[in-house]
Amino acid sequence: MTFRRKGFDVLKGVDLSMQPNVQASVFLATALLLVVGLDVPTRAANQPSDSRSAVTVEQASDAASADPDQAPERQGVVLGSRSQTTIASLTIFVLAIFVGFEIITKVPPTLHTPLMSGSNAISGITLVGAVIVAGHSGGLPWLGMVAVALATINVVGGFLVTHRMLSMFIKRK
């Protein structure tokens, strides 16, 4: 828990005088608020004007999967919430790239291989998309399963091999 001492230039010079754990939770809470704040207004502003509003898409999807029971309550991550504007997504994308640059430049060359395999495992986050495809009975679940399997190899293999390497660096301690 050393993000005040090393890196996180935003916080440099600001003496928060808190226990490290408190710092971590404050950091988390701030990040939560920021992203929720970014997200909620766009949803509100967007829904009335969007011709393909969430409801329309939901109805269409439910008609196709012939499942009237769930129709009104259905709140999917994808089909129920196509509300974020592209510009909001782009904003998040650009900011995350900057955060990435800030974080990654501080990783020492000694750890570059574990960094690659670890970040590689994180890029397997596309598993979330694969799960949606495989879990949707109306689509092509078998194709989704292939994607789930590929992404899982990426995720599980990546994290495990990273763990294996990192343990080698500290085993003598």
Binding site: G100, T152, T162
Partner: protein, 458 residues
Amino acid sequence: MDKLLFIKIVYIASAVLFMYGLKRMSHPRTAVRGNLYGVLGMILAVAATMWSDDVDQVSWIAGGIFGGAAIGVLLAYLIQMTAMPQLVALFNGFGGLASVIVAGAMLLLPGNQPSTSEWVATALTGIVGSVTFLGSTVAFGKLQELDLFKKSRRLPFPHLVNSLLFLTLIGVSIMMIYDQNDYLYVVLVLVASLLGFLLVNSIGGADMPVVIALLNSYSGLAASATGFVISNNVLIISGSLVGASGIILTRLMCQAMNRSLVNVLFGVMESGGGDDDDDVYSDVTQTAAEEVAMMLEFAQRVVIVPGYGLAVAQAQHAVQNLGQLLEEQGTTVEYAIHPVAGRMPGHMNVLLAEADVEYEKLIEMDHINPTMNTVDVAIVIGANDVVNPCSRTDKNSPIYQMPIIDVDKARAVIVIKRSLSPGFAGIANPLFALENTSMLFGDGKQMMLEITAAMQDA
């Protein structure tokens, strides 16, 4: 609480965990926990997705997850550390292909009418993901030294072919977005795969560290683009983190080789003429293991400069043994690591860590060079181009201005090598003929064992 909002907050938590996990990668002591934060983030994101109303059946998901996890565990435990670059290439490829499939399958999801920007994102995922997939597959083949990929074959007019393919991709993308035509996605994927194949197939083995770092970046960008397709922030954030990480490593690798990315991807590494080798090597001093052992006994500070040849000879443990012996007699032992010493960024550090070398002793090039003149004995094992002083002096050399480890400034240099043959750059190394350099010809591991034995006898 609104279920959808709750799921989105879980996604944010998981994105923060990824960021915090990568943050902790900044020190070996904190990195293990950092990696576990990443695992936790992934579990949260997947669990939230499974809980959402988009998922109304779990059998296909379970099948994919169990199958994939079994293969992943096997690969992660069976892989040799020397083969790490191949494995990362393979994983990159799988991630890229998964993104391609997800973006394509989303088009066919009933009731899903993608907006124009989502079509654009789908096209981008298709292009980047396919290039990543087939590019990584070829990189895997080259690193694994499969016969099929052994030669870096070049097409006639490679630039023309690649440019044409690229223009085709743009054309197909525009048509697909304009017509909202699902079928063109398949065409897009096929053409992009071909481009990925051709791009990586023409790149030589020495440039693989750059290629892997770049493909790493692409696999992240593909995941990010998929995030735009399904409007999911956790994909956008994690993907761009990985994208940024890959770009940084690519840049570092390019700097370490003193070449631009464009030059690595499209250029030809010109080989220096071998005709003046004999002139350069007219005055080479040869030595024997016993002599080296004697030198080491009186040395105060020894620096070992490993190259990939060390891993090929499987000499890591032998080197570590010698290092330990030297330390027992009170000598300072350090390992000077050039950024491209292995076959991927940081590879050499992992190989030495596997052989129980403490990470504090692994010194970066920039940190060790200023004190190189206080080194009594520098042992170069399995490295060549990264210690070639030509890069400082010879303006005509293909490696001119490439950063090197300045072993020639040490009081004595031992180069352990099978012969005087050139390294990847194909040029002679004047270091071998320097006054303070002695050549110890032979297999790296064998020589290490002989030196160690000679020291123990003394």
